[in-house]
Amino acid sequence: MTLATELSAPPGARLAIDKVSKWFETSRGRVHALDDISLQVSEREFVCLVGPSGCGKSTLLNMIAGLEMPDQGSVVTAGQPVKGPSRERMMMFQESALFPWLDAFGNVMFSLKRKPGLSEPERREVAEYYLRLVGLEKFMHANIHELSGGMKQRVALARALAPNPRVLLMDEPFAALDALTREQLYGDLQRIWAQRHVTIVFVTHNVREAVSLGDRVVLFSPHPGRIREEFRIDLPRPRDINSVEVAGYATRITRALKDRMEHGAGI
C-alpha cells in the first residue's frame, strides 16, 4: 500500500442488511430491540436513520460495525458478511470517545497504528492530512481536554477517517453540541463527504439534521424497532439546515413520525 492510495478516496461499499432481528436480556426481561430489518445502502450513499429513542437504530449501527451480532438475519458489506469490527467500517459516537491520555495527533495515530502496510513516517503524514482536513492543523498536539466539544468531534472524525474506511458509521455524533457548532459541522461533514465519498450511515433523532445531511432518511418506530418509511431527499448540496426546502421535508417526516407514534406500536 502506498501513501497515494492511502490518501485517495476509498472504493465505496454496498451495505446489505437482510431480515435482521435482535433481542436483549434486561432486568425487566427479554426486550425485542429490532424486528425484521431489511435495508440496502448503495455505494457512497449518505443514509440517515431517524427515530425516537428505543427504536434500536443505535443497535443496528453497532451490528453494522460488528460490535454486536444479530440474532437473526445477516449484515453484509462489500459482499462480505460482518463477523466483527473492522477498519473498513469506522464508527463515531455521541461522546467523542477520544483517549484522554493521547493528544489529538496521538488519537488519530491510534487508528493507523494497527493498520498494516504503512511505515511510521507515512502514518504520521496520513494523520496530519486528516487533521488538516477537519481544520485542526493548529491543534495537532493539543490535549483532548483543551478542545471544545466541536473540536473533539472533528478529531474523532479525523480518527475515524484515517484508516480510510469504506463505511463511516455515526451514532448521534453532533447531539451533544450547541446549535452553532453543529451547523458548522454539518457543512464540514458534507464537504468532507464530497471529497472522500465514503458510505455513511448516520443515526440521529433530529429530523432536520437528517434531511440536511442524507440522500435518504429511514424512519424507525420503536418497541420493537421496525423500519416504517423511507424518504428520498432530492435537494442540491451543500444544504443549509435553515432553508425552506429542508424545513418542508422535515415537517413531512416529523408528521409521519408523530403519526406512527400515535397509531403505531403503543407508547
Binding site: A65, G66, L67, P85, S86, R87, R89, M90, M91, F93, E95, A97, F99, P100, W101, L102, D103, F110, S111, R114, K115, N143, I144, H145, E146, R159, P163
Partner: protein, 254 residues
C-alpha cells in the same frame, strides 16, 4: 520563587525554635538534642560511609519488595476487575488485608522467615500488593466502555487493548494506588528494620533502633530526618512526573 522563600523561611524558623528550646534547657539535652549535634552526627556518618551504606541497604529492600508487589499487583488487579469469581475472592481478601496496618505483618514474617532478608521482603510486598490490586481493579472498572468499543473498531483487540487502552485509561487510579502502596511499603519496612535485627544488612531502621539502645538522641532525630527526606525525594522523583503528566493530559489541574 515566592513559594520557595515562604518554605525556606518556615524551615529556618522551625530550626531556630528548636535551637531556642535547646538553649533554654526546658527539657533535658538527652531528650532534645541541639540541631548542631544532629548535623554533626549526620556529617560523621556521611564521612565514615555508614549513612550511605545503610540507605543503600534499605532502598534495595524497599525497591525489590515494591517492584515485586507491583508486578504481582497490576496483573492481579486487572484479572480481579475482569473475572467475577476473582472479585468475590481475591478482591475481598485484598480489601480486608489492605485495611490491616502493614506493621502487623512483621510478627508473622518473623515467625515464618526468621531473622532473614526474606522477612523484610515479605513485609514490603504485603504493604504494596493489596493497595496496588485494589487501585488497579477500581481503575479498570472505571474505564469508560466506549473507549474499548472505539478501540475495537480501530482494530485493537485482546492484549493490545489491555496495554494501549485499559492500562492508560486506568492510569489515574493506578498511580494513586502505586503511591499508596509505596507509602505502606516504606512504613512497614521501617517497622521491620526496627524489629528484625539481622546481620545481612544494616538499614536505616537499624540505625534508628541502635540510636534508642544507646540513648543517642541526635542519632534518632538525625535518622528520622533522613527517612523523611527519602520519603519526600521518592515522591518528587517517582510520582511527581506521573502526576504532572496525568494532570496535564486529563486536565485535572486546579
Amino acid at each position: 520563587m515566592k513559594r520557595f522563600c515562604t518554605a525556606a523561611l518556615f524551615f529556618v524558623l522551625l530550626i531556630a525554635a528548636w535551637h531556642w528550646a535547646y538553649q533554654a534547657r526546658i527539657w533535658s539535652p538527652v531528650l532534645v538534642p541541639s540541631p548542631e549535634s544532629v548535623v554533626r552526627y549526620l556529617w560523621e556518618i556521611s564521612l565514615d560511609g555508614s549513612l550511605w551504606s545503610s540507605t543503600v541497604v534499605t532502598m534495595k529492600r524497599l525497591l525489590a519488595g515494591y517492584v515485586i508487589g507491583l508486578l504481582a499487583g497490576l496483573p492481579l488487579g486487572f484479572l480481579t476487575a475482569r473475572v467475577q469469581a476473582l472479585r468475590d475472592t481475591v478482591g475481598v481478601l485484598a480489601l480486608g488485608l489492605q485495611g490491616l496496618p502493614s506493621v502487623c505483618w512483621v510478627p508473622l514474617a518473623l515467625l515464618w522467615f526468621g531473622q532473614t532478608e526474606g522477612a523484610m521482603l515479605f513485609v514490603v510486598v504485603m504493604g504494596t500488593l493489596w493497595s496496588v490490586i485494589l487501585a488497579t481493579e477500581t481503575g479498570v472498572r472505571n474505564v469508560n466502555p466506549i473507549y474499548v468499543r472505539a478501540a475495537r473498531t480501530m482494530g485493537s483487540e485482546g492484549v493490545h487493548t489491555w496495554v494501549t487502552v485499559m492500562l492508560p485509561a486506568s492510569l489515574p487510579f493506578i498511580v494513586s494506588g502505586m503511591k499508596q502502596g509505596w507509602a505502606f511499603a516504606w512504613r512497614s519496612l521501617m517497622a521491620a528494620e526496627i524489629y528484625v535485627t539481622i546481620l545481612t544488612g544494616f538499614g536505616l531502621g537499624h540505625l534508628l533502633h541502635y540510636g534508642r539502645e544507646l540513648n543517642a538522641m541526635e542519632q534518632v532525630v538525625g535518622i528520622m530526618l533522613v527517612i523523611v527526606l527519602i520519603g519526600l525525594l521518592a515522591d518528587k522523583i517517582l510520582f511527581s512526573p506521573w502526576e504532572k503528566f496525568l494532570h496535564r493530559r486529563w486536565g485535572t489541574e486546579k
